[in-house]
């Protein structure tokens, strides 16, 4: 059953691009986090419209839920005064953005140029059910699942070790 709709695709992708753009120009990390949650929700809608309801649910639950909660906790634990960067304050955010923006626009323009020369193909937009994804995940890609479990375990151990105690206690910055 095709669930792809033109209006949904363009609205969600436009919202995702706008929210992502607002993320990187914020001064406050908390404001950027709120826009990032909006961007992830928009990307979740985009994935749903593209016919991937399972991945859209994962995007909302894990990205907009779990990972953003981690970010919010860490932003709460670091003091607000430490957000300001000396370089950003000295240059101003707009001037600091000019050079990277040129590079980013150049790379994106190269991608766009390659994409516009590709032969025109329509998206099928058929919904791929979670059952098909699970069959592929635990059939063809079962080795990847094992590797992912090892990666998650190492991430768990690493985060536990780094967060267990303050490794460098009471050392001054200078």
């Amino acid at each position: 059953m095709p669930i792809l709709s033109e209006s949904g695709f363009y609205i969600f992708s436009g919202a995702a691009i706008l929210a992502t753009l607002l993320v990187i120009v914020q001064r406050s990390a908390v404001h950027a986090l709120l826009y990032l949650i909006a961007a992830f929700l928009a990307i979740g809608g985009l994935l749903f419209v593209l016919g991937a309801p399972f991945v859209a649910a994962l995007e909302v639950i894990i990205y907009a839920g779990a990972i953003m909660v981690l970010f919010v906790f860490v932003t709460m634990m670091v003091s607000p005064g430490s957000e300001a960067s000396a370089a950003e304050a000295r240059w101003g955010l707009v001037r600091a953005l000019i050079g990277p923006a040129v590079i980013g626009v150049a790379i994106t323009a190269a991608l766009v140029q390659v994409l516009t020369h590709a032969p025109a193909v329509q998206l099928a937009g058929d919904a791929v059910s979670p059952k098909e994804v699970a069959v592929a995940l635990f059939g063809t890609y079962v080795l990847g699942v094992e590797l992912a479990s090892m990666l998650l375990l190492s991430g768990l151990v690493g985060a536990f070790h780094l967060g267990r105690r303050m490794l460098y206690r009471d050392r001054e910055a200078s």
Binding site: L4, S13, A16, I17, T20, V23, I24, A32, L36, I43, L46, L47, L50, A52, V55, L58, E59, I62, I67, L70, F71, V74, T75, M77, V78, S79, S82, S85, A87, E88, A96, L97, P100, G104, V105, T108, L111, V112, L115, T116, A118, A120, Q122, L123, G125, V128, E132, V133, A136, L137, T140, Y141, A148, L151, L152, G155, G158, G163, M166, A173
Partner: protein
């Protein structure tokens, strides 16, 4: 039946990737760097799902799940490092943290 060209989906992913790249290069706050990396990984995942939508196959979604795993592992270690750096140096400025020798 809706008609969305494949290029428009990939274009959206490319623009998201470009924005994340600009954020990664421009910002000096470690929290913003981690957020930009999340955006980059998300853009790559969107490209995979667009390809999956073009072929109607689940493989692209499987790749998105793997990207999700990588992002989760990366962000947990990264945020623990951010807490340590903030405790040790009382700042999140990546210019200050460029001094590696303890």
């Amino acid at each position: 039946m809706a008609h969305v060209p494949l290029e428009h989906g990939l274009l959206a992913a490319a623009i998201l990737f470009g924005i994340g790249l600009v954020g990664l290069l421009a910002r000096r706050n470690l929290l913003f760097l981690l957020m930009s990396i999340e955006i980059l990984l998300n853009a790559a995942g969107v490209a995979f799902v667009v390809a999956a939508s073009r072929w109607g196959q689940p493989d692209g979604q499987v790749m998105f799940i793997f990207i999700l795993v990588v992002a989760a592992a990366e962000v947990s270690v990264g945020l623990a490092l951010v807490l340590q750096i903030h405790h040790a140096l009382k700042t999140l400025d990546s210019d200050v943290v460029s001094r590696l020798r303890g």
